[in-house]
């Protein structure tokens, strides 16, 4: 009878679907008025020997059932009452860490630097305050030449001179005087006015004055133009200058390097083209346009429209002469491209002035 009862109970435990039915089973069989409890209680009326035997069996069954119940409860009952107090709503939003951002031009600049560095270009910098010599004369842009109108320039007031600026990096000894300044530095700058550099090209001159070819560099940095501001022009902007000089660096090589750059920057579908242009410090000179395929159309770009991206060309012999290279021995290419413009294309930004607004609502999107 006892074992029959045991089977019934175990079957019921097995079938139980929730915590409540398990509690019901406990109450029905093991509770104060439970069936098994009743059986156990009735044992006291039995003769001693039988009582001891059946008692042991009944207790065994009781333990076994309690054990099963415990396991059963474990199945349904996840939080024990102690953890219940610590319940949280896991669907509520997480706390936002202070997420801060790198400026988009920094990000573009890092990408550009990374690509060119991987092609063996060193990254160098130059001063933002320049002399007329470096910004114009040495770049084959003589005074009173209409070409100067291509650069609207900020000039510094007062009769001031610039603290000598030396380009970073290993300096070759050929042009160093004991003062640590390139040869002729003082005389070149006498009577010349100071200005805010209108392009990064002066870095070409500063670098070549202190280094021997062959060389390959890029020079990113801030430039200034004295012009009315609108969505695509601002009084300051970032440019990256490139220069590669060797025995036989050609237009074809320029195309090779630049194509590689555009592919890595914009993606493999990019197309570039060269068309004639004029910059006094290069000859031949060209403008570089890019065309992206229809899918990756750049904002506001009409289908099939080429976008002007950089000015470039083969270094003018007069520039080599200005830095003391023999133009018969060396040739190479130079280019300059706007980082702001690159960032605007990449991120589809329509107003250049946003870059200098300091507005976190804009900056936090990058």
């Amino acid at each position: 009878m006892l074992s029959q009862l045991k089977q019934t109970i175990l079957k019921k435990i097995e079938k139980a679907k929730d915590l409540k039915s398990l509690e019901d089973i406990y109450r029905r069989f093991l509770g104060r008025k439970g069936e098994l409890t009743g059986v156990l209680r009735s044992l006291k009326d039995l003769p001693e020997k039988e009582r001891r035997e059946k008692g042991r069996l009944a207790n065994q069954i009781k333990q076994e059932i309690e054990e099963k119940l415990k396991i059963g409860r474990g199945k349904f009952q996840v939080p024990s009452s102690k953890f219940q107090e610590e319940w949280i709503d896991i669907t509520a939003p997480g706390l936002q860490p202070t997420v801060s951002h790198l400026h988009p031009i920094t990000q573009i600049r890092q990408k550009v630097e990374e690509i060119f560095q991987s092609m063996g270009f060193s990254v160098v910098e130059g001063p933002e305050i320049e002399t007329e010599y470096y910004n114009f004369d040495a770049l084959n842009i003589p005074k009173e030449h209409p070409a100067r109108d291509l650069w609207d320039t900020f000039w510094l007031k007062r009769d001031v001179i610039a603290t000598p600026y030396l380009i970073r990096g290993k300096q070759s000894s050929r042009k160093q005087l004991t003062t640590g300044l390139p040869r002729g530095f003082a005389s070149r700058n006498d009577g010349k006015k100071l200005l805010l550099r209108a392009h990064t090209s002066p870095v070409q001159i500063r670098y070549m004055e202190t280094h021997q070819p062959p060389l390959r560099i890029i020079a990113p940095g801030r430039c200034f133009r004295h012009e009315a501001t609108d969505a695509s022009h601002d009084v300051q902007f970032y440019q990256v200058e490139g220069l590669m000089v060797g025995k036989d660096i050609s237009v074809a090589n320029f195309r090779g390097i630049l194509q590689e750059f555009f592919k890595r920057f914009f993606g493999p579908e990019i197309k570039m083209r060269l068309r004639p242009s004029y910059f006094p410090f290069v000859e031949p000179g060209f403008e570089v346009d890019i065309l992206k395929n229809q899918k990756s159309k750049i904002k506001n770009q009409k289908e099939g429209e080429w976008l002007e991206l950089m000015g470039a060309g083969m270094v003018h012999p007069n520039v080599f002469k200005a830095v003391g290279y023999n133009p018969r021995d060396w040739q190479g290419f130079a280019f300059g491209m706007g980082l702001d413009r690159l960032a605007m294309l990449k991120y589809k930004i329509e107003d250049i002035r946003l870059f200098y607004s300091g507005d976190l609502r804009f900056l936090k999107q990058f």
């Binding site: 933002e128 062959p214 300051q236 976190l360």
Partner: protein
């Protein structure tokens, strides 16, 4: 420059490509073409002629020559019409050029008995299409020939040109420098005061025109004009440019002269114009070209190495193609069988002076698009490492991960932004009063960013890396210098009661220096320093610190002074730092010796000290370190507390002290003794209570 499609066609024997196609051809071979507009039955192309070709291509003829070279389609030449009948004769006027350096050539022709009136319809239309107003047939003819050939011309009313009539002498044209104080009234009735830098066309009495720039009222063509003097000259481009800039007078004429013109063009253009005037205004061309041309310009020769073409362009172009291209541009090759081509350059190509210039012509007409892309075969030199750049990027990363966002501000500030008064660098030609000076510090613009952003955010932390500028008087000269700085600012919209902003930003600075592995950093409250007056005014006098590494001052950290914040109308506390970037890089790159961590266990004991509120953490730290000696490996402040459970007028500082030896395991007794010594020192030397 605006170019009429029909006008262009008139120079070419075959039909031009359609305007859009023509625009594309020009863009890819010579000049970028912008808008194409339909005007009447004509189309106008906006062609961007760059300064290197302004001397020969600011004209329909010039552009036609380019089209002809590209498409191999050319017919007429312009000049030489008059040579037969009008080349010889006695001049009815006298021309004297006083300054031949400023006027290398002066051509004049006299035409008598003309009839001034409106221009014929075709002429009016041509001028209107390119946006020019028709004035009368004489002026229009001169303008027309300028837009046709590129040579500016001017017509004077001969009766108004004074000579020496009393002696029966003919009218005289004198080209000379203006006298100081001399004046001229231009055709537009504007009065200009002249000086000796300015070249004028004068008669015996006064200036008739500002040479190459603008005609004067005195000898203006009017309805009653009968006889004219036609001028086509060549002037010094630099001088024209200077004068035009100084007078603020830029004209179609000055634009062309300042680009430099082929002196040989003057006679061709004047004959062309005289012929045209005779056709449309009647009259008679007086035989004899007056031509003051002492140094005739002859074609240059350039030696072009065929091999060099390949070397520079990176593509092999057959020699016969090179020759064909050069000849299409009217360059003449003297002998085509050599490896070096002796090339004769027509005088109108002032821009061609070097073999490289010829290679450009070859390249663009061959087509840059036909040049293949080819990576250089030069050995790859590993790029030079730029420490400044490496650290710039590293610093950016650290600051961004510490919760500051990067901004780029303008390099300019306004007079109103001058918080302190360092020696500012001023612009000669600012775009506005708001951008009159170069920033002497990154802080003023960062504070503006804080103000703007607190409207939208509860917490704003920003940083910038950029150049700042200052002047300094040195050896009788004023020197301008630029320095790279790193600056950060932090503020909360709800102003904290106390010091959270300061310590939060200080934590950022600490973590930055720490991650750059710069050690020996300490903060000096710098109360009695003279040289730092500017920064002292800038920061809150009780909440500022000099950031020092060893003896080196690398920057400042502090709460911005309440007066400055009030002036900028910023309510919350703002804390900022500004660090000398180059110093930071120098310190970060210094070599440091590696210290192996001790193999022996460390023992940590805590200590709590009750001090007066004005006591500085550093004083307590110093005493602990001195008393503990080398076995105290590290001391950390982990709690700073005032308030409940702390006696009034006291604050509680709690430290972890780490005891460790390099060479052995410390015994309990050693640690206990040392700790007791520290407690004793704090109590007796510091006069503080150590809580037991």
């Amino acid at each position: 420059m605006k170019v009429s499609y029909n006008w262009l066609q008139s120079f070419l024997k075959n039909k031009l490509p359609a305007p859009e196609k023509l625009a594309e051809i020009l863009t890819m071979s010579v000049f970028e073409v912008g808008e194409i507009k339909k005007v009447g039955r004509d189309r106008v192309l906006d062609i961007d002629v760059l300064p290197n070709r302004a001397h020969d291509c600011l004209s329909h003829w010039g552009v036609a020559r380019e089209v002809a070279a590209i498409t191999g389609n050319w017919s007429s030449s312009i000049g030489a019409v008059l040579k037969k009948n009008c080349s010889n004769g006695a001049a009815p006027i006298k021309v004297e050029v006083k300054n031949k350096d400023l006027c290398p050539r002066y051509c004049a022709r006299v035409i008598t008995d003309i009839k001034v009136g409106p221009s014929p319809k075709w002429l009016k239309e041509r001028l209107e299409v390119i946006g020019q107003k028709s004035i009368n047939n004489i002026v229009d003819a001169a303008n027309y020939v300028m837009f046709e050939t590129g040579q500016p011309l001017h017509a004077f009313d001969m009766d108004k040109v004074g000579g020496s009539p009393r002696r029966g002498l003919p009218p005289r044209i004198i080209i000379r420098r203006a006298k100081k104080g001399e004046k001229i009234i231009t055709l537009e009735n504007e009065k200009y005061e002249l000086n000796s830098d300015i070249l004028v066309i004068a008669d015996t009495k006064e200036p008739l025109a500002i040479a190459g720039i603008k005609g004067g009222k005195k000898a203006e063509i009017d309805q009653g004009t009968k006889d004219i003097i036609l001028e086509a000259a060549n002037f010094n481009p630099q001088n024209i440019r200077q004068v035009s800039k100084k007078l603020g007078l830029r004209t179609e004429s000055s634009l062309r002269f300042e680009a430099g013109l082929d002196a040989n063009l003057a006679s061709e253009a004047i004959d062309r114009a005289a012929d045209l005037i005779q056709k449309i205004a009647g009259g008679e061309i007086v035989p004899g070209l007056i031509d003051v041309y002492p140094k005739k310009i002859r074609p240059k020769k350039i030696k072009l190495e065929v091999e060099k073409v390949k070397r520079l362009l990176g593509v092999e172009i057959p020699k016969k193609d090179i020759i064909k291209i050069l000849e299409s541009l009217s360059f003449k090759i003297q002998d085509t069988k050599y490896k070096i081509l002796n090339t004769i350059i027509p005088t109108w190509r002032l821009d061609i002076t070097l073999p490289e210039d010829l290679i450009e012509e070859i390249g663009r007409l061959f087509g840059y698009e036909k040049i293949p892309a080819q990576l250089p075969s030069a050995a790859l030199i590993p790029p030079e490492r730029n420490d400044s750049l490496v650290y710039e990027n590293k610093i950016r990363e650290i600051l961004v991960s510490a919760g500051l966002s990067e901004v780029y501000n303008y390099s300019f500030i306004s007079e109103k932004d001058i918080i302190t008064r360092p020696v500012l660098v001023e612009l000669e030609n600012p775009v506005s009063r708001e951008q009159k000076y170069l920033r002497p510090s990154l802080m003023p613009n960062l504070l503006k960013n804080i103000k703007d952003n607190l409207r939208f955010f509860n917490e704003v932390g920003l940083f910038e890396i950029g150049k700042v500028f200052k002047t300094e008087d040195k050896r009788q000269k004023t020197e301008v210098s630029e320095e790279k700085k790193l600056a950060g600012v932090f503020a909360l919209k709800i102003k904290s009661e106390g010091t959270r902003e300061f310590y939060q930003l200080k934590g950022v600075v600490d973590s930055l220096l720490n991650k750059l592995r710069i050690s020996d950093v300490w903060y000096d409250d710098a109360n009695n320093k003279q040289q730092t007056t500017n920064n002292k005014q800038f920061y809150h006098s009780a909440r500022r610190a000099e950031i020092k590494v060893g003896d080196d001052l690398v920057g400042w950290l502090g709460e911005i002074s309440p007066e400055i914040l009030e002036r900028l109308d910023i309510k919350p506390r703002v804390v900022g730092f500004e660090i000398d970037f180059e110093k930071l890089v120098a310190l970060a790159t210094e070599e440091r010796e590696y210290l192996p961590p001790s193999k022996y266990p460390a023992v940590v004991r805590d200590i709590a000290v009750l001090v007066e509120p004005s006591a500085r953490v550093e004083e307590v730290l110093n005493l602990i370190e001195t008393a503990g000696g080398p076995l105290v490996q590290d001391v950390d402040l982990f709690d700073m507390y005032e308030g409940e459970n702390i006696p009034d007028g006291k604050k509680n500082l709690a430290f972890h002290i780490v005891y460790q030896a390099e060479d052995r395991t410390l015994t309990d007794k050693e640690v206990n003794d040392l700790h007791a010594k520290i407690v004793w020192t704090l109590e007796n030397e510091g006069g503080w209570e150590v809580r037991k």
